[in-house]
């Protein structure tokens, strides 16, 4: 008997039949009859422990005294029912003894605090004065807490769906590779790691300096591969009155307005010839066709000589410089320079134009993304959250995928459905109970998110990243000292998870019925 109960637990065939059962009504007898792996199930919705569910069903089938309720099998088999042949169960007094430790703890540590917090939230910071609902009013009128709520909203909308979609993609992709086990272990591993350690890990990942943070190291090297020639930091005109161009608000502009048919010279200095991109060609005067403004941007510097403001033989043009034709303060046309530094504005309306090289040409090289700044802090922390939870979603969804009856898929294929149609119309609907479980679990998690925000957001940007759970701690313990407002925030958090409480209860009742 022990073997029978323990045995099926060992192979991890979990969820195989379970999800199918969840999706289609009634247990699939053939799957269960394959014994071994198939008899072990775990239902992601997790209301009855299905492993023994099956054992119980099997037992009832062979025992004539089994009450009819059990003989029907399925989830109902797990429902406890006492047979007709005299109730041998213990008296309720013994039950009290078994339940007492749990109920003392649950009562004093969980239920009583809920009641206490409701009352406490109606009093002021010190608890001396009754203030009615004004703590709740403060939550919804203070701009700090409002942005906290907005951040939580972003979390709830973005993170659970991303985790679920990513888990689905991983589960589908790993179905056919040989090293699926290794992949799953790698992706699943962060679940064992504390959120604090994850936070430290991602503080390192998000370091601003591309020589320290791996995220910016990757981004800057990718950026440099595709856009290495875009910037000329340090390039500038000569600072004298003979120079045809001058600096104005960081941009380089022509001193004299140019008419159609005229040529504009843009000689620049301030950078080394070696720093030019390898594609740069010798600078050539650009001949302006009628009705055209043309010109050349080049490095007007020859080591040991050369004429100022003239293109000497060895001087090279600056490729890919953005050039604007400006008239009356408005940009009329934009172009970029050729490898020899020349540019042409064709088809400009008659008039005089100022040629301008905007500041973006001369900015410092790309130094990566400011992950931990006020603008990106919440997306950055959501990234860490996804890193932690994608494995959870993947494992649950993979269990669901493997439980989908092959027949249904094959039938659809024989009927001529494309793979995408099969996936969209059959797999996804059959998976939907599992997807819903993942989504709901993640929503509850994001509502309560605390550690990651607390650890990853540097102190100065923490107000920008703040979430309700963190604000509750800050207000009550982290220096705020306002336990009235803290209690109100805790109750607010509880109210937010109430719908999921209801979902759990309903799901349990349905499975028991």
């Amino acid at each position: 008997m022990t073997e029978r109960l323990d045995g099926p637990q060992t192979p991890r065939g979990d969820g195989d039949a379970a999800v199918a059962r969840g999706a289609s009504p009634g247990p699939d007898e053939t799957t269960e009859a394959t014994g071994g792996t198939a008899s072990v199930e775990a239902k992601p919705s997790g209301t009855t422990h299905p492993a023994l569910d099956d054992v119980a069903t099997g037992e009832d089938g062979t025992t004539s005294s089994a009450p009819p309720a059990l003989a029907t099998g399925g989830p109902a088999a797990a429902k406890v029912s006492y047979g007709g042949s005299g109730n041998l169960g213990p008296s309720p007094r013994i039950a009290v003894f078994f339940l007492l430790p749990a109920f003392i703890l649950l009562g004093a540590w969980v239920v009583y605090p809920i009641i206490y917090s409701i009352i406490r939230s109606l009093y002021d910071a010190n608890g001396g004065t009754f203030v009615g609902l004004s703590n709740y009013g403060a939550i919804f009128s203070d701009s700090g807490t409002l942005s906290t709520i907005r951040n939580n909203l972003i979390w709830v909308v973005v993170a659970p769906s991303l985790v679920t979609v990513l888990g689905l993609i991983f589960a589908v992709l790993t179905e056919r590779i040989r090293w699926a086990t290794a992949f799953k272990l790698i992706v699943f591993m962060p679940m064992a790691v504390s959120l604090l350690a994850s936070g430290v890990i991602f503080r390192l990942v998000y370091e601003q300096d591309p020589d320290k943070g791996v995220a910016n190291a990757i981004i800057t090297s990718v950026h440099d591969v595709f856009a290495s020639s875009s910037g000329y930091p340090g390039a500038r005109p000569r600072e004298n009155d003979q120079a045809p161009v001058l600096v104005e608000k960081g941009a380089v502009v022509s001193r004299q307005p140019a008419q159609a048919g005229q040529q504009v010279l843009v000689p620049l200095v301030g950078m080394k010839p070696e720093a030019l991109p390898s594609g740069a060609a010798a600078a050539k005067p650009a001949s302006a066709a009628p009705g055209e403004v043309a010109g050349t941007v080049w490095l007007d510097f020859t080591p040991g000589g050369g004429t100022v403001n003239q293109m000497d033989g060895n001087e090279k043009g600056l490729p890919d410089v953005t050039v604007e034709a400006v008239s009356g303060g408005a940009v009329k046309a934009t172009t970029t320079t050729a490898p020899d530094g020349s540019f042409h504005f064709a088809g400009l309306p008659a008039g005089s134009y100022q040629v301008r090289l905007p500041q973006s040409n001369f900015t410092q090289p790309f130094a990566g993304v400011t992950w931990l700044g006020p603008a990106l802090i919440t997306p950055a922390i959501i990234g860490a959250f996804i890193w932690v939870w994608a494995g959870f979603a993947m494992v649950l969804i993979a269990a669901g995928l493997s439980a989908i009856p092959r027949d249904a898929l094959e039938a659809a294929r024989i009927d001529g459905a494309t793979e995408w149609q099969v996936f969209r119309r059959i797999t996804i609907p059959l998976l939907s109970p599992v997807l819903l479980v993942v989504l709901v679990t993640m929503i509850i998690n994001t509502l309560k998110v605390f550690d990651l925000v607390f650890v990853i957001a540097p102190g100065s940007v923490q107000p920008n990243a703040n979430v309700i759970a963190l604000e509750m701690w800050r207000v009550s313990f982290g220096g705020g000292g306002n336990q009235g407002l803290g209690s109100a925030l805790a109750i607010f958090l509880l109210v937010l998870v109430l719908p999921f409480m209801a979902i759990n209860i309903r799901r349990f009742r349905r499975d028991q019925a």
């Binding site: 008997m1 022990t2 637990q9 991890r12 065939g13 792996t37 198939a38 997790g46 009855t48 422990h49 492993a51 037992e59 429902k79 169960g89 213990p90 309720p92 013994i94 078994f98 430790p101 749990a102 109920f103 703890l105 649950l106 004093a108 540590w109 406490r120 589908v172 992709l173 179905e175 056919r176 590779i177 086990t181 799953k184 272990l185 790698i186 591993m189 504390s194 604090l196 430290v200 390192l204 990942v205 020589d211 320290k212 791996v214 190291a217 890193w387 994608a390 494992v395 993979a398 094959e410 509850i444 509502l447 309560k448 607390f454 009550s476 805790a490 958090l493 509880l494 998870v497 009742r509």
Partner: protein
């Protein structure tokens, strides 16, 4: 078959047709190589952050300030255990033992108390049983924030604020709903003939629980145990509120260093890595139970 993927191929043979993924067949036609590459890149994305922490923890301060950790691929000589020996000499070990002193009792107590309650819910009849169990299910999702202020008050009154027992009891109480839920469902599946036979023999209820039911529940207890262990070991918030400096676990000790993140990576990185070694070892040894627990009750 003891690994995560065991869920996949086992049934394929018995089902007749070869098991085929859905999208994977599309992807097959595009070339399996692409999938391999994508998955390798993804695996790197998941691996690199932790690897980075490990390498950073093994590099000297000057190295960490001047170059990226990935330079160790070309210059492995820069690795040193200096950070670890400094950390262990600095008294970090006491927070390690605090973590152990909090986690082990909190795990054992939850299993014991929840097993008793789960047994009562599964196999005893008493008035209001179903209603009470629904209450337990309702408590599954209650955020711990709700209890921080009231329990801090209560601990102050009892004189255990800041102490390890206070932290343990808090973890036990908030671990109970999930534990009772999981074990009750497992117990409910035990064939009732087994219990009836024992009861017919006149065995005391306590004895049936301890000698018949509880031993059968080993897999469920293992799942629950590893979950509770990881949950408590990795907790920060409860420790932040209820553990004072003498009782603080590793998470709180490390958190107090976060403010000077830039300057004390040599403490944070090895500390964070030490704190995650035991969970990782547990995870790799018992991941089967971990996944089972996950599938059995992903509601918390």
């Amino acid at each position: 078959m003891t690994t995560l993927t065991a869920s996949q191929p086992a049934t394929a043979g018995s089902a007749g047709a070869p098991k085929r993924g859905v999208l994977s067949r599309v992807v097959d036609k595009l070339g399996g190589g692409l999938v391999q590459i994508v998955l390798i890149v993804l695996a790197l994305f998941w691996l690199l952050p932790t690897l980075g922490l490990l390498v950073v923890s093994l590099r000297g301060d000057t190295d960490n300030n001047s170059s990226g950790w990935w330079t160790f691929f070309t210059k492995p000589a820069q690795l040193t255990f200096e950070n670890y020996s400094n950390l262990l000499a600095s008294g970090f070990t006491s927070s390690f033992w605090n973590t152990v002193a909090i986690t082990v009792p909190a795990t054992v107590l939850v299993i014991g108390i929840a097993a008793m309650a789960g047994y009562a819910f599964a196999w005893m009849e008493f008035p209001g049983r179903d209603g009470l169990f629904l209450v337990v299910i309702a408590l599954l999702v209650v955020p711990i924030q709700i209890a921080l202020i009231p329990i801090a008050k209560m601990y102050g009154f009892l004189g255990i604020f800041g102490s390890i027992p206070g932290v343990v009891l808090f973890h036990v109480a908030f671990g109970l709903p999930f534990a009772i839920f999981l074990l009750r469902n497992f117990f409910a599946g035990i064939p009732k003939e087994l219990l009836e036979a024992a009861r017919m023999d006149g065995a005391a209820e306590w004895k049936i629980f301890a000698t018949v039911v509880f031993p059968l529940a080993k897999p469920a207890v293992a799942s629950l145990g590893i979950f509770q262990f990881l949950w408590v070991w990795n907790d920060l918030l409860v420790a932040l509120v209820f553990a004072d400096t003498d009782a603080q676990p590793m998470t709180k000790a490390l958190q107090s260093q976060m403010r000077q993140f830039g300057t004390n990576v040599d403490i944070l990185a090895p500390g964070a890595f030490l704190s995650l070694i035991i969970p990782l070892v547990l995870f790799f040894s018992f991941q089967r139970y971990f996944v089972q627990g996950l599938l059995a009750g992903s509601v918390k």
